[in-house]
Symmetry: C2
């Protein structure tokens, strides 16, 4: 048995697995007490209910400019809580590992998770480790679930009304374009870099100023187009987007132009889109722009009376087109 690779016994429940957990996993996640490996842990919440979410991560390649699967696993779940106004209180880490995986890679992924969790201010409190035989999984898949404390209330989709501003905290498509380019081995297309980042700090800063945010979402798989189509789906209002107002990343623009991709459909991992009461739109922008992750925030559109149920883009040339939901698969295994 080689000591620098995962073997099936590391998933046995026995001494090898205890060694892996003690010597490799808990080294990175010290919040868990190595002396009391229990399967369920207590998470303190200051209120009488908690927010609960889950996400599995299968990104390929598993390391890319700007991050790796571990960064995604932490940020994805933190952000799912954050856009609901919930402070992340505890994350779980479920690892499914392929026999033969290099321990050095596992260490990098776990170190990234630990660092990102620290940045987000949330401990990784419980976990599970399975090892499957070669070929039964592609290197490593990670599930993170999260428990959050609801500290900011938002009125929700039902409260969105014509005149509300649509605001995003930065340029679209950085994560998707980076993973796509990394997978294809495309180089020389500029400084592509995933935007993977935990958004709780940014969102908390905004909401504690009592800005009237109706709702927020993180436009991940399917991109902004899909998220905004979910906004308009109830059929009470439409959304008009102004192409000239979008913050842009030149590297993403160049990449998408070269491949004929529309950044509206490309995945993000550090973006939040929100509908904000018109009266608070400028104030929201100011607060967001004062934060590193909101530096490029912009009002990119407006909620409209009609056409109901539709997202319309006014292009830089003054034309108008419908932005529909992504149908099939733009890029599998983007997160």
């Amino acid at each position: 048995m080689s000591s620098d690779k995962i073997v099936l016994g590391h998933g046995s429940g026995g001494t090898l697995m205890h060694d892996l957990i003690d010597s490799t996993i808990l080294k990175h996640f010290p919040a868990q007490n190595p002396g009391s490996l229990v399967d369920a842990v207590s998470v303190q919440a200051a209120q009488d209910h908690v927010l609960f979410t889950t996400d599995s991560f299968v990104v390929s390649p598993q390391e890319f400019p700007g991050g790796n699967i571990g960064d995604l696993a932490v940020c994805g779940t933190v952000n799912d809580l954050a856009v609901m106004g919930a402070r992340p209180k505890g994350l779980s880490c479920g690892l499914i590992i392929e026999e033969g995986l290099e321990l050095s890679f596992l260490e990098r992924v776990l170190a990234s998770m630990a660092q990102m969790a620290k940045t987000a201010g949330v401990p990784i409190v419980t976990g599970d480790t399975k090892v499957v035989e070669r070929g039964a999984v592609d290197r490593i898949f990670i599930n993170t679930s999260g428990v959050g404390e609801p500290v900011h209330a938002m009125a929700g989709l039902d409260a969105v009304q014509p005149g509300d501003a649509i605001i995003i905290n930065g340029p679209l498509g950085q994560h998707g374009a980076t993973v796509m380019a990394a997978r294809e081995g495309i180089a020389g297309l500029g400084d592509l870099r995933s935007d993977v980042a935990p958004l709780w700090g940014l969102i908390d800063a905004l909401l504690e100023q009592k800005v009237e945010v109706r709702l927020m979402r993180d436009p991940t798989r399917g991109g902004l187009a899909t998220t905004l189509n979910e906004f308009v789906a109830p059929g009470r209002f439409g959304i008009n987007l102004d192409e000239t107002a979008f913050p842009t990343d030149p590297a993403v623009e160049a990449y998408c132009d070269a491949l004929g991709l529309d950044p509206l459909y490309v995945a993000n991992e550090g973006k939040v889109v929100m509908a904000v009461a018109q009266k608070d739109a400028q104030r929201a922008l100011d607060i967001l722009r004062a934060q590193p992750l909101g530096r490029d925030a912009a009002i990119i559109g407006t909620v409209t009376d009609e056409p109901v149920g539709k997202v319309v883009l006014t292009t830089a040339m003054g034309g108008r087109r419908f932005v529909t939901m992504l149908a099939g698969e733009q890029l599998p295994r983007i997160c």
Copy 2:
């Protein structure tokens, strides 16, 4: 595109994925409101903190006598909460699906999850679905995480003392032996059947009678031997087991005898082992035996002064042997 198989687009985040969720997944998990697909949901807890756990399921084969991977996914997480005295309040369902999976199989798994969750009295409240290309995962892996409300307090491992009774609710090894036999295609060895079952009802019935249970665990991977070695690991006491006191399943006995396996190391998915104050041991047994899942409950051992840190088995022939923790892998992908 064939309509009875999963395609990559089912994981896109777009309309195909919305269709899969609406037409297949939410049909089974109606607790989630199809009109408001959000990534994090509120879970009510009656107290100020919650129990939180996670588990990934990779069992092979994914259907076996007595259950399937979906049954395991619900029971495993319910039981991790239950042994901590926590009433399960909400489960998540994270699916990683291989392109090409038959929808009929997915439906069976989801139906099992829904039925088992109903039996356990816990809703499946949030989820995530990823689809990966053929060969990147073996059919389907499932992560379930769970949030529970701590309704019964147990003193814990530190309170265990010599004289305490070790009690189990039924015979060992039914899940592990069944999966092993199903994998090897062995037939004619009797009526092997997984013991997969949600234990909250049994445990709740016991603890609400104020029986002094020090702690409980579910002996899954690594079997009872591994769990009891975790009990004695702090080195304050030992455990003596009486082989003649164990409840047995003739089908498991026959299978293990034939293959030279020790049921002490074979996985269970519907068993709980507990240390109970001597004064309450008989009462605990009576309460457990009145429940279907505790019909075969037995006192199988005693906490001893010495040898500290060791589990000793007194065999049917009167001999004594150490029962050590499982080292490597008895059987990969047992759960």
